[in-house]
Structures are given as C-alpha cells and as structure tokens.
C-alpha cells in the first residue's frame, strides 16, 4: 500500500478480541511494507556500522604510509556512504509509509464503527472513548507496528557487527560481544518508571488545558460577574503542577541519558585498555584498535532501538486495548430487521401511549414532562434505545423493519439536533425525497437573518450557501441553530416528520411565521410536533395531550384550552391559583403572583 492510494477501499475486519491481537492483525496486514522496511533498515544499519572499518583502515594506511591503501579506503568509504544515504532515505520512507497506512486503517475502522453505532454512541462513555482512541491512541499504535521491522533490522545489525568484530579481531571482539548486551538492556528497567512519570505529566497537562479552556469558555460569565483572579490562581496552580511533573519526569529521562553515556563509555575504556595491551604486544594493529573503538561508538545508534521498541510497546499496549474495545462495540438491537425492507405509509400509531397521528395531517403533542416527551419522540421513529411494543406506521411495526427503512420512513428531530460543520450547502445536502428545495425550506424556517449572519462571519463567501458553519454551529445563536436544523429536516421531506420542541429558542414573532411555513410545506404529509407553544398548537390539525404516559385528551387547541385544565396548565403556564382566577378571564403572571404570596406571608 502506497500513501497516495489511501484510504483503503476496505479497511477489513479487525481482530479486536484483545489489544495484542489487534496489533498483530495490523502488522500482518502490512507484511509487504514491513519486509521492505526490514531490508532497507539492514542496508542502512550495516552501512553505518561499516564506516568505522573505513576509519580504522585509513588510520592504518596513514600509519603504514600507504597512499594507495588510503585511496582505496576512500573508495570503500564512498560505497558505505552511498549505502548509508540510500538505506536511511528508504528506511525512512518505508517506515513512515507503514506508520501512515496503519494509522489510516485504524482511523477508517473507527469512522465506520462510529457511523454504524450512530445514536448508540450518545451514551457518553462510549463516545468519549472513540474520540480519545482517534486523537491519542492511533499514533501510538502506528508507532509500535511500524517500529517492529526497524527494531528487527537494528537488532540483526548489532548481532552481525558483534559477530563480525569477534571474527575480525577475536581478542577485542569478545570484550565487545560481552559488553553489548549489557549496554543494550541496561536502561530497560528504568523505562517503566520514566513512562509512568511521563503519563503523570500528560495527565496534569491535560487537566491544565481543561481548566484553561474551561475558563475561556466561561469567560463572558467571568467578565460579566467577576472572579477572574479566582480562576487565574487556580490555573496558575495547575500550570505549576504541570511544570513540576514535567521536571520530575525529565529527572528520570536525564538519568537514562546519563546511563546511555556511561555504559558505552565504560565499554570503550575496556576496549582501549585491553586493546592497547594487545597493540603493544603486536597482536593487533593500531588501525584495528581504532576500528573497534569507532565501531563501539557507532553501535550506540542501532542499540537505541532496543529502548525505543520497549517504550513503543509500553505506550501502545493500553492504546491497542482501548482501540480493540471500541472496535468491538455493538448496537444493542439488530439493525437488519426481521422483515423485508418496505416503505410503509399511513397513520402513525403508538400502542403504548395510544397516540395516533393521522396520515397527511399536522399533529401536535403536548406533554408536561420533557423527558417523557423525548422518549416518546424517539419511540415514534422505531428502533429506540429502550424497546417496548413497536410503533406502527400504516400497520407495519417499525422496530421490525431494517433500521435504514425505518429512518427513511420517519425522521425524528430530537430536542438538540446537531449542526454538522461544513458549508451551508453541505449541511443541507442530506438524503431526501428531492421534492423540497433548499430555498423553500430555509424560507419556511425563517432563516433569512441566519444567512446574513453566516455571510458576515465568513472569510470570502458571498453566497450564503458557501458560508461555513463551525462545529455544532457555535458561532450562531440557539434560535438560529434551531431554525437551520428545522430547514434541514424539512428538506429531507420524509413520509413522517417528528419534531421535538423545534422552536423553543425562537422568538414569538418568528415562531408564528415558522408555524405557518411548516404547515404550508408539510401539507399532505404526516407531521408530529412536540411543543407547548400556543403559536404552533393553534396551527395544528389536531392536538394530543399526553399525561403520565398516556394520551388523555385529543382535539383542537382552542377546544382543549377551554375544556381541559391540565392542558391549560402546560400551555398557558398558569398556576393552580391562576386557573381559578382564569374564570374571570384574568391572566396574572407567575411572578406577580409569587410576590403577592410573599407580601402576604
């Protein structure tokens, strides 16, 4: 797999039974790349290790006064140099390619998993985990998988050079062969502590960042009410804690650095001490001594890979475990359905509450308990998180249809629809019947001022459709967001549209116009609106009052206002005392009422 061919047409089915199995699966799936990286790695490391021989030969040639040999050494060195350069470049290219393809594969798997899980992800633990795997863990997983072949090449080189030295100069080679494993493994016991401290530091840094962004997010509150110093002090403390943790972590790493200087240094001294003796006895030449010294110096480089692979593994193991867990998440209900996919139509009926939304009409639902309203709205779309007796659309139980068919037939816009970032055109480009034009939907949802605001806030877009909406539509006000979400749902133009409090943050002027627009655009289609706003209720064909899980009254808004005290209580926000007073046609507000009570008390 080359980088330019990414993303994978199909990232495959991961072995997510455990972290190590997942790592193994990733490695196996890029075997070709791993072998390439191993081959280039061997060329690179062996060439690097061959340079000391050149140094030794050159010094010996100088000692012996041989110009020819010096020139030959130069040629040999050039050859090694080419090996180093080519090996280095291509090792880097293959290694990076392996890292990127592994990371891209995991990202693709995560994206597919997230799309499949859909609303099941709203349980927050799962949601946070998916995101943290994507932002933090993917890199570490890719790192370890990629480093495996690089490490193997380095380890093979160390063995080859060690063996080579033993053959080249047995007396000195043995000293090196004994010393090398010690040097290679000495820092490993220190690593777990160092990585633990690094983890503490990261955790504290994360906490400080959280405090900072929290302070900034609430900055308008702070500037409006006060308390800046309180929060600055708190942040300063967190920031200093990060600093201390980082320095503490650096203490450990600096110890490791010192060991990495000390041990190879001791080995060098042993080599020199032993080698000088041999040289004096004439058993080795000066050039050979310089070769061995220089070889030990250079071997430090492949030896560092022992440390790297240990670190990569200790970092990537928990990451792989988290990734495997996320990738093995499943929905609680079957999404394939137990019936053939059909496109049902007709009346929408909920056997649990007795709610009936006649086909082609605008039905409003009033429910005093907002949570119950939310659950009911979710049930109306089929495949709810807490399944009960299924809602029927034209007699077909929605829960038994494939998920996709149910969602096509009924669109439930929940209380907090999320605006996805991108241009307005992208936002409104949703799977739809094609019958409703974007301009009509935007007009019906009264979005003119939103379009103006979007153009104003954008860098260069003159057409509002090209203007960008930031994540979650944060640059827009609550009412503006609601209206855009409503426009998006109207464009979809489903058989049945269920809206939960679609205009709760919209002012009354605009709400009245939206109610008219909604009615006009949805004429002949089935629409259910959960609301308590008289402006919307007044325009519904039929209003159902849900009380304690059951439909207790059905009728037109005006009828219900007159005849049903429980309805009046929800819709007109009267208190019980006011209900009594309402007979006289008087409307007092809750605040004044309360003051009177307080005064009389």
């Amino acid at each position: 797999m080359q980088i330019q061919d990414l993303p994978y047409p199909d990232p495959g089915v991961p072995d997510a039974r455990s972290g190590p199995r997942f790592l193994w699966w990733l490695w196996r799936n890029q075997l070709g790349g791993q072998l390439k990286s191993l081959a280039w790695g061997l060329l690179h490391f062996v060439s690097v290790s061959a340079l000391p021989f050149c140094v030794g030969l050159a010094v010996q040639a100088a000692v012996d006064g041989s110009g020819t040999r010096l020139a030959l050494t130069g040629a040999l060195m050039l050859l090694c140099g080419i090996g180093v350069a080519v090996g280095d470049t291509f090792l880097h290219r293959t290694a990076v390619t392996n890292w990127i393809t592994a990371a891209a594969r995991v990202q693709q798997l995560l994206a597919r998993k997230a799309a499949r899980l859909g609303s099941a992800l709203t349980r927050r633990v799962a949601a946070g985990e998916v995101v943290s795997v994507s932002t933090g863990d993917v890199e570490k997983i890719g790192w370890f998988v990629e480093a495996l072949s690089r490490f193997t090449a380095a380890a093979l080189t160390v063995v080859v050079v060690g063996a080579g030295l033993v053959v080249y100069q047995p007396a000195l080679g043995v000293v090196v062969a004994v010393g090398l494993p010690v040097v290679a493994l000495a820092v490993l016991p220190l690593l777990p502590r160092a990585t633990r401290r690094a983890d503490v530091q990261r955790e504290k840094a994360g906490r400080a960042t959280e405090l900072a962004s929290d302070t900034v997010a609430g900055l308008r509150v702070l500037r409006g009410i006060g308390g800046e110093e309180l929060f600055l002090d708190r942040y300063r403390r967190a920031s200093q804690e990060v600093r201390h943790a980082a320095v503490r972590s650096a203490r450990m790493w600096s110890l490791i650095s010192a060991v990495q200087v000390l041990l190879p240094g001791l080995l060098l001294i042993a080599v020199v001490w032993h080698g000088i003796g041999l040289a004096r006895q004439g058993r080795i030449t000066v050039g050979e001594l310089v070769t061995v010294y220089s070889a030990v110096m250079v071997l430090n480089y492949p030896l560092r890979h022992f440390e790297e692979i240990a670190m990569a593994y200790s970092f990537s193991r928990p990451s792989a475990r988290r990734a495997a867990r996320v990738l093995s998440l499943e929905r609680s209900t079957a999404t394939d359905g137990i019936r053939e996919a059909v496109a049902p139509g007709g009346d929408l009926h909920d056997p649990v509450t007795g709610l009936l939304a006649p086909a082609g009409r605008l039905t409003a639902v009033v429910c005093g308990d907002p949570d119950a309203a939310g659950r009911l709205a979710e049930r109306l779309g089929g495949h709810p998180t807490e399944p009960d007796r299924s809602v029927l659309l034209g007699g077909v139980p929605l829960d038994e249809l494939p998920l996709d068919s149910a969602r096509t037939a009924v669109l439930v816009q929940d209380k907090e629809p999320v605006l996805l970032s991108g241009t307005l055109r992208e936002l409104l480009d949703v799977p739809s019947s094609g019958a409703v034009r974007a301009a009509d939907a935007l007009a019906a949802a009264q979005c003119e001022d939103v379009l103006d605001a979007l153009v104003q806030g954008s860098l260069d877009a003159a057409d509002p459709m090209d203007a960008r909406i930031t994540e979650r539509g944060r640059s827009l006000s609550g009412g503006q967001r609601q209206r855009l979400a409503l426009a998006r749902s109207l464009i979809t133009d489903p058989e049945v549209l269920v809206l939960d409090e679609p205009t709760s943050a919209v002012d009354s002027h605009t709400e009245a116009r939206i109610a008219d627009g909604l009615r006009r655009l949805r004429s002949g289609r089935t629409t259910v609106v959960f609301t308590s706003s008289p402006l919307l209720l007044d325009r519904a064909d039929r209003v159902a009052l849900v009380h304690e899980g059951e439909v207790v009254a059905v009728g037109e808004h005006r009828e219900l206002v007159d005849a049903e005290p429980r309805y009046r209580a929800v819709v007109t926000r009267e208190t019980d005392e006011e209900l009594a007073a309402a007979d006289e046609g008087m409307l007092l507000d809750a605040l004044q009422e309360l003051e009177e009570i307080e005064e009389s008390a």
């Binding site: 899980l117 992800l121 308008r220 600093r243 220089s294 007044d538 409307l587 004044q592």
Partner: protein, 605 residues
C-alpha cells in the same frame, strides 16, 4: 519519483474570519526577547553545563589519539594507567553533565512554557467584555488548546535542544581546530552542500508540517463530530456520508504526509552526504597530511573521531529547527491577544443613582451599517422594561448597550448620570449585569462556582485560605433561588466537583447557579437576554419563580422572545428595524391595536 508538489487543499488555511488579532512580527520579537531576559540565568546555566559535557566527551578521542601516536611511535612509556584514569574521570564528568544538560533543558523549557500559557490566560481574562461579545470565545479556545499544544513541544524541547545542538557543534569544531587546524578546514568543504540543501528544505518544510498536522487534526475532528452528532447522523441517514467524509479527510491528510515525506527524501541524502563529506575529507585530507608528515597519526585519529561525533549535534539542530519554525505561527497567535488594548476606563466615574438613560443612541457593528438608530429610552429605578421584536431587529444589541458592554457610536447611555461605556468593566458590573443563555458551569467545586460572584475585595486572598469562610452566604444565595434542596443532598455539599468531568448538572440547575451568582454579586440593574429560553417549558416555569425572587427590587431590562415575559413588564418597547416603534404598558399597547396587539392575540389565542 521526480518530486511531489504540495497538495492543492490546505487544511491549515483559515476558513472563518479570524476574530482576534494575530501578533505582528515586532510584538512577537519583543515578547521572545522578554522571555529570554526573564530566564537569562537558566539559559546561561544550560549553556555552561552543556559546554562542560561536550568538552568531556572529546576527552575520549583526544586520549585515544595520544595513545595511538605513542604506540605507532613505539614509545617506551604509554602512561596507560594515567590515561585510563583520565578516561574514566572524563566519562564520569560527561555522564553527570549530560544528565544536567537534559535536566536544565527541561527546567528552562518548562519555565518558559508555564510563563507563556499563564501570560496568555492573564491577558485573555483581561479582555474587554465588548471584544469578547463580538469575537466569541471560539478563537480564544482554539488558541489556548491547539496553539499552546504546538508550542509545548517547541518550548519544552526545541529551544533547549537547539541551544544545546549549536553549542555542541561549535565546541566540536573548536576541538577540531585545536587538534589539527588543517582538518577543521577540511570540514568546511561540506558547508556549501549543507547550506544549499537546508535552504531548499526549510523554505518548504514549516508550512508543510503545519498543513500536515492540521490535516491530521481534521481527521480526528471529523470522527469526533460523527460521534457527537450520533443521533442526528442516524436520523438523517448520514452514516455513509460521514464515512466518506472521514476518508476524504484521510486522503487530504496523507497527501500532506506524502509531501513532507518527499521533502525529507531530499533532505536525508543531503545530510548523509554532508556527514560523509566531513568524515571523508578529514580522513583523506588528513591521511595525505600524515603521509607528508604535516600532522601526526594521533591528530588524525582524534580528528576523525570528532568528525564522527559531529553527526549528533547536526541532526539535533535539523530535527528541532522545524519545530521552532512551526511554533512561530502559534506564538504569533498567542501574543496577538496582547495587541488588544485593555479598556482602561475612567475610575473616577461614579454613578449617582440608578436611573438608566439612553439618549439618541446610534450603534453599528460595522462601519456605515447602523443596527440601532436614534434610540432614546428612560428606565426608572425598579421598573421592568421588556424589549420585544423580531429576530435581528436589534433588541439584543440594545440590551448589551444598556449593560455597558458596547459603547454607542453616537449618543450617550448613562447610569445615574455617569456614562456607562467610560467606566471600567469592573465598576460597571457592580451595578449592571447581563444574564444570557450562557450558564457556564465551571470545572471545579460548587463553592468556586459561586465564590466567583463575590466582589474581589471580599474573596480570600490567594492560596488555600479559609475555604468555608463564605459558606453561610453561599447557602443563603442557593436558598434564594430554590437550589438549596438539591445542593444539600449532594454528598460533598459545596465541595462537590461540578462542570465537565465532574457531577453533571441539569440545565435547570446550571441556571439556578447562574441566578445564585447574581444574588451574590448583587447588581441593582439586570439585563436579561432570554435567560430561560433554551430550557424545557416545565423547568422554565420552576425557574421563573427563582428568577422572580432575584429580580425583586431591581431594575430589569428583559429581552423577551416569549410574550408572557412582556406581559409582566411595566413598560414594553417594541424594537423593529433598529428603532423603537411602540412604547407603553401591555394594556396600552393592546388597546393601541398596533403590531404588538396583533401578535399578542395570535399567541394568547
């Protein structure tokens, strides 16, 4: 492979207008200079320990060179014991000082980083409320997360490591000069190759890396959004499109990876060639010199070993130079906040009384486009004024002017005769508070969430102070807004951790906390920008009762999206198209049969 052009799509390019300024080069430079001045001692210490470490590291090659010289001269006395002793001593010194270098580097880097992030937050919390209102907090947020993150690496590692690398390389070159000056000249042969290669690379690399990391962040962001919008994605059947989007982001990101990989594919051979040239020229030129008898074989040995050691600092410098370049952009964004003038205000202005008065006020967000035109208003102490009107008519803007957040372009808004916009923000807020839909619950204890509203002078001074000294007052405030019930039921009471990551409060509870803060801050005038509109009707009704108690006895300007709020007010101002078109009590306006009356009938049914 002939080369890779930079991808056409640049994920690092700004998509929305930057709302806050980015620091000018001069500002950034001044800041960096100040940062260095502040940490001069730590910096000098780092250089000193580094110098010792590098000099000690050269002892090995030097001593070996001496030995080689004597062995090849067949000298009788090798002083082997002394040499070995010196060797061990040098090694010990090197190990100790290398450790110190690493540690001092971290200490310096961490101090600078801590300074930077704290400085930034200090500046941020001092921003004028008007700037915040206009710019929103999104831009600031991305600066304090993304930019601080990017700078962390640069400050923590790059700056110290660069300093180390430069000193190291210079000392090695110096060592070479001391050992054998002709060899040092041989090293210079490699310099042109290095310079040409690096110039090519560094002209392209920083922006390449910036785009690459922005591209990678976009991959994660696309996924995070899919997860966050799980409900919406499923309801609108957007799953396949989200996967498609993620894959497009991956393609964009990897295109940049491929580009930067190409850049390195050019750089790496250049660097390798430089290393080879250095070592080769030292050996060949030096070898010839030895043959001619101009230098000794010991000098050649030492020189060759030092030349080999040059690999490390050169790699170090190249490795971190990138990072520093990338960090410059982030630094400019952080320092940019310093370019905003903090509003000083006139501390001598003190309102006399509580009457709010707007006199022929004009205001616009952009040059030449007025949102409010010639608005005059009088709000007597203790009255309730409701602003109603269609979206975009200017009622929220008028509310912000009355709260002293914006200054009128023309005309005056006074509180007790003193001009609001000329008072310092801290003075204004002790009199007037704006309550909007934003009920931020801060990460921290419930106590901290309330204490912030107490005037600064009454807070416990820095440090851990007597945490509970204001508890009675805090409980009373919670009681005043009906929140003491659930608050007392909390296991840890006021110490309960709330906000993201802590106990999740319901929107209604968050709102009660916002109201309790008002009770504590105790301003005599409140501007309510539809404080309860995002809540469910039932929760809202309960809250209105709490709100009622908070409002009691205060002057209230309510921006009303809902007509029942207007109905309760003493005076209603209908704002249309930047002007006040109707003004009067509810009954007056209904009797007048104007636009308000029409709307009221439609709403009330």
């Amino acid at each position: 492979m002939i080369g890779v052009a930079p991808p056409a799509y640049d994920p690092a390019a700004p998509t929305t207008a930057t709302t806050l300024p980015v620091g000018a080069t001069a500002t950034v430079r001044a800041y960096v200079a100040e940062l260095f001045r502040r940490h001069r001692r730590a910096f000098l210490l780092l250089i000193a320990v580094n110098t010792v470490a590098v000099i000690a590291s050269m002892a090995g090659p030097y001593l070996l060179g001496g030995l080689v010289e004597r062995v090849s001269d067949k000298a009788a006395e090798l002083h082997l014991g002394l040499t070995a002793g010196l060797f061990v001593l040098a090694l010990a010194v090197q190990a100790v000082f290398v450790r110190q270098v690493r540690l001092r580097g971290a200490v310096l880097g961490e101090r600078m980083l801590a300074d930077l992030r704290e400085d930034f937050l200090v500046r941020s919390v001092g921003l004028p409320p008007g700037v915040l209102e206009r710019a929103g907090t999104g831009d600031l947020l991305s600066r304090i997360t993304t930019d601080i993150d990017r700078l962390a690496n640069a400050m923590r590692e790059a700056v110290p490591q660069l300093a180390i690398g430069v000193v190291w390389a210079l000392l090695l070159l110096g060592g070479l000069v001391v050992t054998a000056p002709p060899l040092a000249a041989a090293v210079l042969l490699a310099v042109p190759v290095l310079v040409i290669g690096c110039r090519w690379y560094f002209r392209r690399a920083p922006s390449g890396y910036r785009s690459e990391s922005a591209g990678y962040a976009a991959v994660a962001a696309a996924l995070a959004e899919t997860v966050d919008a799980g409900h919406t994605v499923e309801a609108h059947r957007l799953g396949a499109r989200r996967v498609e989007l993620s894959e497009r982001r991956i393609k964009e990101w990897t295109a940049w990876e491929r580009y930067t990989l190409w850049l390195r594919s050019v750089l790496f051979p250049v660097i390798n060639a430089v290393h080879l040239l250095v070592l080769g020229s030292v050996l060949m030129v030096g070898g010839v010199f030895v043959l001619r008898g101009w230098i000794g074989v010991g000098q050649l040995t030492t020189g060759a070993l030092i030349a080999q050691m040059l690999v490390d600092p050169v790699n170090l410098i190249l490795r971190w130079y990138d990072e520093v370049q990338v960090a410059q952009v982030s630094l400019a964004r952080l320092v940019g906040v310093r370019d905003i003038e903090p509003d000083a205000g006139d501390a001598s202005l003190n309102p006399d009384g509580r009457a709010v008065h707007a006199d022929r006020v004009h205001f616009g967000y952009r040059e030449g486009v007025d949102v409010l035109r010639s608005v005059s208003l009088e709000v007597a102490p203790g009255t309730r004024l409701a602003l109603v009107g269609p979206s975009g008519a200017g009622k929220s803007t008028l509310g912000r002017l009355l709260a002293g957040i914006y200054a009128p372009r023309d005309g005056r808004i006074t509180l007790g005769g003193a001009e609001l916009s000329r008072m310092p923000a801290e003075r204004v807020r002790s009199h007037v508070a704006l309550v909007n839909q934003e009920h931020h619950v801060f990460v921290g204890s419930l106590r901290d969430n309330l204490l912030l509203a107490l005037p600064h002078s009454r807070l416990p001074t820095t440090g851990e102070g007597p945490a509970g000294s204001h508890d009675a007052e805090l409980w009373a405030a919670l009681g005043a807004v009906d929140a003491d019930g659930w608050a007392r039921a909390l296991d840890d009471g006021l110490d309960t951790e709330v906000g993201s990551g802590g106990l999740a409060l319901t929107p209604a509870q968050a709102q009660q906390i916002a109201l309790a803060r008002l009770v504590l801050a105790d301003p005599h005038t409140l501007v309510l920008d539809e404080a309860t509109s995002l809540l469910d009707p039932r929760a809202a009704r309960h809250l209105e009762r709490s709100l009622g108690r908070v409002l009691d006895g205060r002057t209230v300007v309510a921006i009303a999206h809902r007509l029942h709020t207007a109905h309760d007010a003493d005076v209603i101002a209908v704002v249309e198209n930047g002007r006040i078109s109707e003004l009067g009590s509810h009954d007056d306006l209904v009797a007048a049969e104007g636009p308000y009356a029409a709307l009221w009938r439609s709403w009330h049914g």
